[in-house]
Structure formats: structure tokens, C-alpha cells
């Protein structure tokens, strides 16, 4: 790709002989290119302006008022909505639920994803088929999958009751028991998303140079030690990528929760995104919905900043 500078591009050559006529033509040429740039970028940026940037400003304003989304009057109440949220027992529970759901969802899909990737990284027949099966649920509708799992969790007629019954265990009433509802939605989320981690980890494992393992083996490292000293460090950029992606995705998980529990029973699975929906479109508390949406945004923004801050150090390890 290295070329002598003199051969590289034409503008330098032309600049040697600045004939006025030519510069005029050149300027027109630039303008045409700028115009094309604007033409190409404008639709995308316009849509972002209307449907991403403006809503953030609008959210900020709405979070300072009390409004039922119908009446023509919006009452300005300052930080009233935020004060309400952080003193509200339900909202504190919502924050805690979000944390529990996220830790369970991210931890579960990463650990099981790594385990299945290590499994499929061996020379096994049908392993590509197995990889395809594991990945398939990530592409399916969360709403439809949620419905299927409500049937599976049915404590009397469901698949799990059938399986647990065959080893002599009675099924908990998963979705109507506040203690079991959260584990149930986490199970579904992990079931649906584990294949993504598997595929990404598998690609990472296959990219690790084999001579690293050979070197470790020569040094007398056993299987576990090789895993700790070669596999895990080499996978750390991928783990980092997966943690961030899974964190952001799990904070946005709506369809599974809406379909399976509607945030219940007694708010046991009410997470931030569900709370925003419920306050806005069920209870018609525009102000609280906007304030909660900004809390959600702040958390996700924080995660993204961490990513940008540490991505450099962690990713370029070699």
C-alpha cells in the first residue's frame, strides 16, 4: 500500500500550477462534493434530530412538569418528579429489580456462553449444527418466546412441571410467586441470549494462536493453568465487549417482561424500562415517565462512557 508521495493523488500535482480558471472550476467541484455530502448525510441526521435528539430535550422538560398527557395544562413542579421517584418505595424496588435482572442476565449468558463455546471449540461432529441451534433463539421475537415460556412455566400443565415431576420435585408457581418470578424471567432471557455469547466466544477462541498453548504445555502447564494463563487473558477483550453489550441489552429488555409478568406479581419484576412504559402509557404520568427515562438514560450513558474509557486499554493488549 506504500506508494511514493509524488504518485499518490492528483490535487497536489494540480496545485503546482494555479491557473485562475482552474481554481474556479476546482471550487465549483468542491461545492458539488460538499453538496453531495450534505445530501447523503441529511436524511439520517434529520431523523436523528427529530426522533433522538429532540426527545432528549423534550424528556428533560417533561420531567419537570406534572401532566396527564390529555389536559392542555402542564404544571411546572421543578425537581418534584425526581424527588418523588427517589423517595418512592416502588421506584427503589424498580432500581433493585433492574440490578438483579441485569446481573443475572449478563452473568448467566456470559458464563454459559463461555462454557458452551469451550465445548464447541473441540473437534466434535455436528458442532456447527449445535452452534446454529444455540444461536437460533437470539433471532426470535421476545414477545412470542415469552408466551411460549408462560406455557412452559405453567405449574400444572407445563414442560417444566413435567420434567421436575419426573424426578419427584413439585413445580413452584413460577410467575405468580414474587420469589420465583424474577428467576423465571432471567431464565428466559438467558435461554434466549446465551447463543450470542457462544458464537462470539467461539470466534474468539478460534483466533487464539495455538503456539501459545504449545509454549504453556512445554512449561508444564496443566489444563486448568492453560485456561487461566492463556485462554482467559486472550479472551478478555471479547469478554469486555460482551459485558457491555449484554448490560445495555438487558436494560432494554421489555417484551419478555411485559408478556410474562407485566412487571408483577406485586412489582417483583418491574424494571426501569417497564416502569417508564407503565408510568407513561398505563398510568399517564408523563412527568414521572420522562424522569424515569432520564434515569435509565443516565445509567446506560454511564456504561457507554466506561466502555469508551477502558476500551483502549483492554482491547489492545497484544
Amino acid at each position: 500500500m506504500l506508494r511514493p508521495a509524488s504518485l499518490s493523488t492528483s490535487p497536489e500535482v494540480d496545485r503546482v500550477r494555479p491557473v485562475p480558471q482552474q481554481t474556479a472550476r476546482r471550487r465549483a467541484f468542491w461545492r458539488a462534493e460538499w453538496f453531495l455530502f450534505v445530501l447523503f448525510v441529511a436524511p439520517n441526521l434529520l431523523l436523528f434530530g427529530i426522533f433522538s435528539y429532540w426527545p432528549m430535550i423534550s424528556n428533560l422538560y417533561l420531567s419537570l412538569v406534572r401532566w396527564d398527557m390529555i389536559s392542555p395544562v402542564k404544571t411546572f413542579i421543578g425537581s418534584g418528579n425526581y424527588a418523588y421517584l427517589f423517595n418512592d418505595v416502588t421506584f427503589r424496588m424498580v432500581l433493585r429489580n433492574s440490578a438483579v435482572f441485569t446481573v443475572g442476565a449478563v452473568g448467566g449468558s456470559l458464563l454459559l456462553g463461555l462454557a458452551t463455546a469451550l465445548l464447541l471449540n473441540q473437534k466434535l461432529r455436528w458442532r456447527n449444527g449445535a452452534r446454529a441451534v444455540l444461536f437460533a433463539p437470539t433471532l426470535l421475537s421476545g414477545a412470542a418466546i415469552g408466551i411460549v415460556w408462560v406455557y412452559i412455566f405453567d405449574p400444572r400443565f407445563g414442560l417444566l412441571a413435567r420434567l421436575l415431576g419426573s424426578i419427584g420435585i413439585g413445580s413452584p408457581s413460577w410467575l405468580s410467586d414474587p420469589a420465583w418470578a424474577m428467576p423465571a424471567v432471567i431464565i428466559v432471557y438467558v435461554w434466549k441470549n446465551v447463543g450470542f455469547s457462544t458464537v462470539i466466544y467461539l470466534a474468539g477462541l478460534q483466533a487464539i494462536p495455538q503456539d501459545l498453548y504449545e509454549a504453556a504445555r512445554v512449561d508444564g502447564a496443566g489444563v486448568l493453568w492453560r485456561f487461566r494463563s492463556v485462554t482467559l487473558p486472550m479472551l478478555s477483550p471479547i469478554t469486555f465487549f460482551l459485558v457491555i453489550t449484554a448490560l445495555l441489552n438487558s436494560f432494554q429488555a421489555f417484551d419478555i417482561i411485559k408478556v410474562m409478568t407485566e412487571g408483577g406479581p406485586v412489582d417483583a419484576t418491574n424494571t426501569l424500562i417497564y416502569y417508564v412504559y407503565e408510568q407513561g402509557f398505563v398510568a399517564y404520568n408523563a412527568g414521572r415517565a420522562a424522569a424515569a427515562a432520564l434515569v435509565l438514560f443516565a445509567i446506560m450513558f454511564g456504561i457507554t462512557l466506561i466502555q469508551l474509557r477502558y476500551a483502549e486499554e483492554r482491547v489492545h493488549y497484544a
Binding site: W30, E33, W34, L36, F40, V41, P43, N44, L45, F48, I50, F51, S52, Y53, P55, M56, S58, N59, L62, M69, L119, Q122, L124, R127, A130, A132, V133, A136, P137, L139, L140, S141, G142, A143, I147, V148, V150, Y151, F157, L159, R162, G195, V199, I200, L202, A203, F241, Q252, F254, D255, K258, V259, V276, Y277, G280, A286, A290, A293, F297, M300
Partner: protein, 282 residues
């Protein structure tokens, strides 16, 4: 060193068993859906539930189809998915081309504007977007196709993905075309797009899957049965008949799931490898 021989080693046997277990854990729920869609209510509501239906009740599919206007739901989902994916592809391609090949003063500032959009998730903007669309120059776009499609028609992710791929195209070929007097539009249409087909297909498929499965926004922005998409229509049927008519509800769930499983079976390699490559490289 690996012991060679024709008999399976114990370790390998364990690996095969674990692989079978993983496939079963992921596959059984989907199988349960399929079997449920073929059972009579009498069989579904017996204890303990049986695996296989004794008589296969295909009528569940017809009943589900008639229990709600699924033909209309399909039409709505197909229209909004194709329009949304098409717009995302066009926006991504044009933006990526502009940032990869066109000169513009302070281009990097415009780039930051795009980067910032990546940090605003759709879920945070639902309420203001609903308000925006309920009054577009005095008209309401709630309950319209454009209302469903437009808020998701812009893409920063797609623009970054394609820009990265455009920058990796062989420079010599593009320069040669330019020397031959090839304008930007010709260059984009005749060279860049054909050369980038794999990444365009990958992004198109990712976008297609997301639009088809989208639930929160269509739920909010539609308010008549006529305008519901498949995912939303399905959950309304479930609200009415879940727990009382599982056979029909499982059949209806398959209406939503099967089209994507077919696409996946057809483009499996492409999707998996595209996603893995995108994540590990970037």
C-alpha cells in the same frame, strides 16, 4: 499428545453428552411449542402433561388464524419490516459513503453528531416520540405505517459498520474508476455497493430481524386491531386466550417465529459468521 484410535475416548464421550444436553435445553422449549400447537385442549389440560399428542390437531392453526385478523397482522408486519429495513439500508449506505469518500469541512464534527445518536436508546425516547407523532402539522401519525416506521429509520450502527467496510475496499480499483471519469453516484452504484454485498446483506438481515421482532414501539403507536403488527397482535390474542386455549396460542406463536427460523435456516452461515466477525474485529 492425543491418543489415536477408533474408539471414542471417555472425555470425548462426555463432550458429546454435554453438547446433546445444550442442544436439548435450547431446543426443547421450541419443540414444546410445536407439540402444543398440535394438541387438543383435552390433552393439554391433563396431568401430568404428555409429550406427544395422540391425535394431531392441525385445526389449531386455522382456529388461531381466524381468532384474530392474522392476515392483516402479517401484511402490517411485512410492510413495516420491509420499509424500515429498506430505509435503514439506504441511510446507512449513503451516510457511510459520505464519511468514507466525500470531503466536507469539519467532517469529524458531523461524525460526532452521529456517534452521539448511538448513545440514545429508542426505549428512552418513546414518550416524546409518541407526542411528536400525535401532532405532525396538525395531523396525527399515531396508528399509521409511517408512525411505526420512521422513528426507527435512522441508523448510526449501520453507518459505522458500512463505513468501516467501505474504507477496506481496494483503493486502486476505486481510484482507477475515478480516473476513468466515474462520478460519485456511478462509483457508489457500480463499484462500492456490489463490492460490499456481504456486509450489506449482514446488516440488512440484522435490521430485518430487529424490525420483525420489534414490540414496544408498535405496541405504543398502534391503537386499532387493523394496524397491529404480528408481535403485538399475538400478545393481544394471548391476553384473551392464554391459559385457556394453549393449543391455539402456540399455533399463533409459530406464525411469528417460523418466518425467522426459515430465514435463519437459509442464511445461517452468513448471519453467524457476519456477527462473529463484526464483534471480534471491531
Amino acid at each position: 499428545m492425543r491418543r489415536s484410535g477408533t474408539s471414542l475416548e471417555l472425555g470425548q464421550l462426555v463432550s458429546y453428552a454435554l453438547m446433546a444436553l445444550a442442544v436439548a435445553v435450547i431446543g426443547l422449549p421450541l419443540l414444546w411449542m410445536l407439540l402444543g400447537s398440535l394438541k387438543t385442549n383435552q390433552e393439554i389440560y391433563t396431568m401430568p402433561p404428555q409429550w406427544l399428542p395422540t391425535e394431531w390437531r392441525w385445526e389449531n392453526f386455522g382456529d388461531a388464524w381466524n381468532a384474530a385478523p392474522f392476515g392483516q397482522f402479517y401484511l402490517n408486519s411485512i410492510i413495516t419490516t420491509l420499509a424500515g429495513t429498506g430505509l435503514e439500508l439506504i441511510n446507512a449506505t449513503m451516510t457511510a459513503y459520505a464519511f468514507a469518500f466525500l470531503r466536507f469541512p469539519k467532517k469529524e464534527w458531523v461524525f460526532v453528531l452521529l456517534l452521539a445518536a448511538l448513545m440514545i436508546p429508542n426505549q428512552v425516547t418513546i414518550l416524546p416520540n409518541y407526542l411528536t407523532l400525535s401532532d405532525v402539522f396538525g395531523q396525527t401519525w399515531i396508528n399509521t405505517y409511517q408512525g411505526i416506521v420512521l422513528p426507527g429509520a435512522a441508523t448510526a450502527f449501520g453507518a459505522f459498520l458500512l463505513r468501516q467496510s467501505f474504507l477496506g475496499l481496494p483503493r486502486e480499483v476505486l481510484d482507477a474508476a475515478k480516473v476513468d471519469g466515474c462520478g460519485h453516484l456511478r462509483l457508489l452504484w457500480d463499484m462500492v455497493i456490489p463490492l460490499s454485498r456481504p456486509v450489506l446483506v449482514t446488516f440488512g438481515l440484522i435490521s430485518l430481524v430487529a424490525k420483525w421482532n420489534d414490540y414496544l414501539w408498535p405496541l405504543i403507536v398502534t391503537n386499532t386491531q387493523q394496524m397491529r403488527t404480528l408481535t403485538v397482535g399475538l400478545t393481544y390474542l394471548f391476553d384473551q386466550e392464554g391459559n385457556t386455549n394453549w393449543g391455539e396460542v402456540m399455533a399463533a406463536s409459530m406464525f411469528v417465529i417460523v418466518p425467522l427460523l426459515v430465514i435463519f435456516a437459509w442464511a445461517q452461515r452468513h448471519i453467524i459468521e457476519g456477527i462473529a466477525a463484526g464483534a471480534t474485529k471491531g
